[in-house]
Symmetry: none
Subunit: 222 residues, 2 copies
């Protein structure tokens, strides 16, 4: 059991244990609601160790977030030759990453991005924009069409992440990856290479932004 105090016997890579426990806890509760006591318990370690190794809760969080995955790199690996299989590749890759331990880290990033509109901007710029562009790059589309199809793909993939991982809605949260791929991949593929049903021609965002107008405003005050 919990022996007395003092240095532990054998190996004990306590720092890593804390880091992993913190990653899970932050993913689960967000930064504010996660507690050092809980993290310590998950790591099987006294909460004081966290201060010993990381100083403060904030610094621990930074340590967790600074060990991210490069989405482009992951995506690029195993890109299929056939453009008609690209949708399947995207969905499967997404599921693989998010079902892995790295998924917790990704959850941390997504959750913490919601803390401010600046966080949302970061998520938009560095993840969505780059990832989506990487994803549709093999298709050799025009600039406008790449953006538009990329956005559509993003809606389906972002929605999958939301429902399955962030909100964990059943039954989708517990459905086998193969089944998810089977159902969603064709839809994603349609956004990539299918014929898009449009009433009055493609929504050619007429060069630059022309914000539609009286929408609630993409306010950045938060």
């Amino acid at each position: 059991m919990t022996g007395g105090r003092g240095r532990r016997p054998g190996a004990g890579d306590t720092r890593s244990l804390i880091l992993a426990a913190a990653r899970d806890a932050f993913a689960e509760h967000g930064f504010e609601a996660a507690t050092l006591r809980d993290i310590g318990q998950r790591a099987g370690v006294d909460p004081a160790m966290i201060h010993h190794w990381f100083g403060t809760k904030e610094k621990l969080f930074q340590a967790v977030v600074n060990a991210p995955v490069d989405p482009q790199e992951v995506l690029a690996a195993g890109l299929p030759d056939d453009p008609e299989r690209l949708g399947e590749h995207l969905v499967r890759t997404l599921l693989t990453v998010w079902d892995s331990p790295q998924g917790s880290a990704a959850l941390v990033v997504v959750r913490s991005s919601m803390r401010s509109s600046r966080g949302a901007a970061l998520l938009r710029e560095f993840v969505l924009a780059r990832v989506i562009r990487t994803a549709v790059a093999p298709l050799g589309l025009t600039e406008d069409e790449a953006l538009w199809r990329g956005n559509l793909v993003a809606t389906q993939l972002a929605g999958l992440v939301m429902v399955r991982y962030v909100l964990a809605v059943e039954p989708l949260a517990s459905t086998a990856p193969d089944d998810v791929v089977a159902v969603l991949a064709p839809q994603v593929q349609h956004y990539l290479t299918g014929e898009l049903a449009l009433t009055g021609g493609p929504p050619r965002s007429p060069s630059g932004a022309t914000p539609r107008t009286p929408r609630p405003t993409p306010r950045s005050s938060g």
Copy 2:
């Protein structure tokens, strides 16, 4: 400064003041990190009033979430007779609500809910679950199939909300509603009434949960 205790003189719709203050506070800090003290201060009111009017912090949050819009009510209005037009109705209704001033309030709720698993649970229970069931109700499906198809619809709609409103990614954020409906409605319709491509039969969530496996765990301990 603040006069003594006892009932206030004039009008004082305290309940509404608290509700508005709570909406802002939850939006800014998320459910867990928002404090009743802060909400009370924003509303210019003693925190004890919150307990007087709402009971607990959680009930206050529910009141905030349910205030902007009763999704069921909005959805029910204008339900098409033809099940094959249900997808279009869902997408169009969603865009109408989110493009309206109520959309700002909804955005607040979504942002704050995503930040912790607790907030996510509340969103899942009180909004998503009900909306999904209402949405697929006209189809007269079996329990399992309704849940499954509802989840799929939710991925597409939630993704639309994320990309267009929460992250405000261009060009989708500035695309005319009609164009969005034209492109997305067929996909949603497919989830509602189309034939779903499945490898080994429908993912009949085998009664109860069978958590896929070693994911970060949907633990509810927190």
